[in-house]
């Protein structure tokens, strides 16, 4: 339980990585790292794809990355229509990447491939938790 709080709209409520939502509430965007082999994952996993271990720790995502790519959605899937248009993108932090929406204070025309960005937690007015890409 608890994971139904993640996202603008949730599709699944139960996962062993539900602590991610609690971490967001504490102001942290975290991935998981394998205690045995050190492999890092984002989004978080509760099992290591490299060495099969289930011993995972949380680690805080880096703060400085570059916007590798983005798109501006002018149409939205069912349940997201009121948010249009919104921008989504991929941040490359060097050794790990992240997918999210860009913060609404970044105007669509301001978004550029390669721009310096960061990430922060986001709480929607209805209480849903997420994270967003912000200007560095």
């Amino acid at each position: 339980m608890g994971f139904e709080k993640f996202g603008r709209r949730s599709f699944t409520g139960i996962t062993k990585t539900a602590k991610f939502v609690d971490l967001l509430a504490e102001g942290k965007v975290e991935g998981t790292v394998c205690k045995q082999c050190g492999a890092k994952f984002f989004p978080p996993r509760s099992d290591c794809a490299s060495c099969l271990s289930k011993e995972m720790d949380w680690f805080e995502m880096p703060k400085k990355g570059k916007l590798e790519t983005f798109t501006i959605a002018y149409y939205a899937p069912f349940g997201f229509e009121k948010d249009c248009p919104y921008t989504m993108g991929v941040v490359d932090f060097g050794d790990i990447k992240l997918f999210a929406r860009l913060a609404s204070d970044i105007k669509p025309e301001e978004a550029k491939v390669g721009m310096d960005v960061s990430v922060r937690p986001l709480k929607y007015e209805d209480g849903q938790m997420s994270f967003e890409i912000i200007k560095a």
Binding site: F3, F6, G7, R8, R9, S10, F11, T12, T15, F42, P43, E68, T69, F70, T71, I72, A73, Y74, Y75, A76, P77, F78, G79, F80, E81, D83, Y86, M88, G89, V90, I96, K97, L98, F99, A100, R101, P108, V113, G114, S130
Partner: protein, 393 residues
Amino acid sequence: MAKDVAVIGVGQTYFVRGYEGSIRELAFEAFREAMQDAGITQKDVAASIFCSAPEYDKQRSPAGVLAEYLGLIPQPTFYIETVCSSSSSGVKVAYSMIKAGLHDVVVVLGFQKMSEITSAESQERMGRGADIQWEAPFGTMMPAYYALYAQAYMAKNGLTHEDLMNVRVKSGTYGQTNERAVYRKGVKPADFDPNNPDARMAGAVAWPLRVGDACANADGASCVILANAEKAKAFSKKPVWILGIGAASEAVNMAARPDFAKGLSVGYGAAAEAYNMAGITAKDIKVAEVHDCFTIAEIMAYEGLGFAPMGEGKQLIREKATYKEGKIPVNVDGGLLSKGHPIGATGGSQIRTIVLQLRDEAGPMQVPGNPDIGLVHNVGGVGLYGNVTIFGR
């Protein structure tokens, strides 16, 4: 190259919006045509495989229902799914069963009746073909995913909106000649002009992709009948042999994807495996069907398949090299952009086009010069699954 498994029959329905019938009736149309093409009856068929994207199906476990309607019981039947490449995956499984000696003749039937749900619902379901735990909660959908690739690719490789438009213009050129296509109007630059109030294709969907960069949903079915060498020679005057099969997969989550500017990794992986199995290179391909669910996808496919070096796919469309008279004709049946994209039926439709090309039976779409080797490139999801199948006379 081994000639162990052949296509002996192909069939396809008209791809339409709002098919006036049930999925079993839709499937039957493609099946009837393929059976008549092969000149066989149901007692000749040893097994059947049904392929679709299940999120559109109201019927649970459709294989049994469809096998019964097609008169293919009590032979074994089952279901295969890799979203948009489901029927290519079905053909791969059929090939494997025949090659292993389990069955001698296998029917692969791909179908999709997308019209029972709205376009927005359909987009949401396609979005759920991506990661519902970590990505769908942001409001993702298929055009947005391909737009992520387009944005990075265009920034790095100098691909322009005009290039993308010209992919659609080519598609329209051939869509007009394909009576089975859902979109049969020609496409001209004015259709993409934002200053033209009548422009049908200029509106942004998921920037940088516009309406005209995307294929349309459609209802349709396709059928491919495969046989071992003995049965193929007995039944068919013009068997078309499977020379190579390649497949690959990639991380579903965009955060785990390699360089977006390099295109879909599964295109490269599946092509390398298929070329290796067939013992040929890209230069040997005389006609190809590639997965152009979006215009950018066709450009990326050129590179994955080795028709152009990485980053240089734009040159092929600028030089019209992928037109019928060009050095490597691609999607001369209009592709997904004009035919429409009934998910589970698409791979089988692409295979049908290549089989007809190699039999010199493609009518107004026929590539000149008696093409002897053809290729099908069929991608599932946003480069989640890649399938390349090579066919020869």
